[in-house]
């Protein structure tokens, strides 16, 4: 077993170390070095792609259900809207803020915000309906200062500036790998043309000539959204790199 002992120090060393300790104590009593952000009068500056409260743009949604499928916490449920399309709702009682939904959204309909401070009165209220996600929520702002963390070689410093951060930022979406839908097993195609019906960009077309249906996917029009891949009952469509 190793025994911890007080290191041997000369009188000179002891004086120097005590003096240094007194200096730190004096400094802290006058100008304390803390890492506390005085919320709500101050707000910490969050990165632009902070995973916070979700916003939704129904115009960009293609109702592909990918967000609901990918959600590991089962927080997203699709609800039918009056226009017969299905849009997501988020239960913040379940959400773990992984934002897989934002990453998986092929149309960019789900967006992140820097809002991290939302309070609810009860569990039922935590289920956020689609219509509540479209408009920016009303927030009572008391903050006057913006706090940034700065880490140098020795310590963490708080840099305070007199400005108010915007919580809704347009994040430039990551560069997507262009994908295109292809039929991997033409022999098993039923010819039901559900893919054509589903396709919103009009990339899939069919021509019936006597006893033959000619199916075609326009590589230029296909946005790689994957709706046809999901709907194909024979599962013979795949997204491949363009």
């Amino acid at each position: 077993m190793k025994k911890v002992t007080v290191p041997e120090q000369s009188l000179g060393e002891k004086v120097v170390k005590h003096a240094a300790a007194i200096r730190v104590a004096m400094k802290e009593s006058v100008y304390p070095l803390t890492a506390t952000v005085f919320y709500p009068r101050e707000r910490k500056k969050m990165p632009d792609n902070f995973r916070g409260y979700l916003m939704f743009d129904p115009d960009k949604c293609i109702s592909c259900w990918e967000c609901a499928f990918v959600c590991p916490a089962n927080a997203i449920q699709m609800k039918e809207a009056p226009n017969k399309r299905y849009y997501p709702t988020v239960d913040y009682g379940k959400c773990i803020f992984c934002h897989f939904c934002v990453d998986s959204c092929s149309g960019g309909a789900l967006k992140t915000t820097k809002i991290h401070d939302v309070a609810y009165k009860d569990m039922g209220e935590m289920l956020t309906l689609t219509e509540e996600m479209i408009e920016e929520p009303e927030i009572i702002r008391e903050d006057k200062k913006l706090v940034e963390y700065e880490i140098d070689e020795q310590d963490l410093h708080l840099k305070r500036t007199r400005e108010v951060d915007t919580l809704f930022v347009e994040v430039t979406p990551p560069v997507e790998i262009p994908m295109v839908s292809q039929c991997i097993e033409p022999g098993s195609c039923l010819g039901c043309r559900i893919c054509e019906e589903m396709c919103e960009s009009g990339a899939i077309s069919s021509i019936i000539e006597r006893q033959v249906i000619k199916m075609a996917i326009d590589r230029d029009k296909c946005t790689g959204c994957g709706l046809c891949v999901k709907e194909c009952s024979m599962q013979i469509l795949r997204l491949v790199r363009k």
């Binding site: 039929c183 097993e185 033409p186 039923l190 010819g191 043309r193 559900i194 006893q211 000619k214 996917i217």
Partner: protein, 346 residues
Amino acid sequence: MAAIAIGESEWEVAIPEKPLKDKLYFENLKAKVIDTNLCSRCLTCACICPVDGITAVDGVDFPDYEAKCTDCGACVRVCPRFVYEPKSGLGSYIEFIAGRSKRFAGQDGAMVTELLVSAMEMGMIDRGLFAGRDEKWAIEMFHVRDPQQLAITTLGGTKYTFADVLPALKKAVRFTKRGVGVVGTPCIVSGVRKLQQEFPIFREKVKLVVGLFCTENFHYEDISRYLKEKGVDFDKLIKTDITKGKFIATMTDGEVKFKVKELEEILPSGCNVCTDFTAVESDASVGSVGSAPGFSTVAVREEPAKKVIEYIKEKGYADFGEADTSQLNFLIGHKKEREKNITKPI
């Protein structure tokens, strides 16, 4: 780096000709098969229908087809009776044997269960479709992926009611990695073969098709009503069997016996035109006729089934004995007679 399989951007689908030109394919199917009482209720059409619209609640139908049907013609392409070529006789076989599983209990020798489980152990298939039943003796389909699941005792044994095997097959084919094993009556076997003939996916994924010897099958509503009238209590029912022309329902407190002929009044119209007793299109057919009590008769017809039987022999999972084809002649002849019931379409 593995080569990326890239599909086609343009392809063609051949569609069958419509006998009734201005009607949807389903209307053609209805006119030619369902309304003419040819339909066997094999549900191959329900399996392939892209909108899952075809149901079999009270006969095969497609409620709301005017709104939902995409008129793709898949149902017509796969229906074994749209262009009906009745099959009959013993069919070709490599081996004709009797077997009794040492591991499982079933109707006779439990060879159907043994075949599928052995195929699973060999790695030929990774799931088998089994028909189970609930306490009311209604059929439920089970995807068996591990032999341990067969602890559910109701999976073995014959059920004398229609099972929705084929609607479950599409899902099985979608999720399987290695292959699927299916069990079914001759009409279901014909449906699977038709699917395999039309669509490569089913050719690749359905690896083992076990047929059952079948004289006829009954609709659940009909047979349950009939048996209740005869005094069968479903809560106490253990097993149903047809031997030597008699239907025997074994219960915990006795038996109910009557002649099979009496069931003719509830014989489904589709069975009335079926001439196939031994499931001639299967990889292996199994039944009780032709072997000693406690044994199943197995007609090994195709190479995959032959491999499975060899595996069973090698591992010693079952006892094998002699089977006598001549005992089948009566029932084969009995079903062959039904040929006269098929009215040729005009």
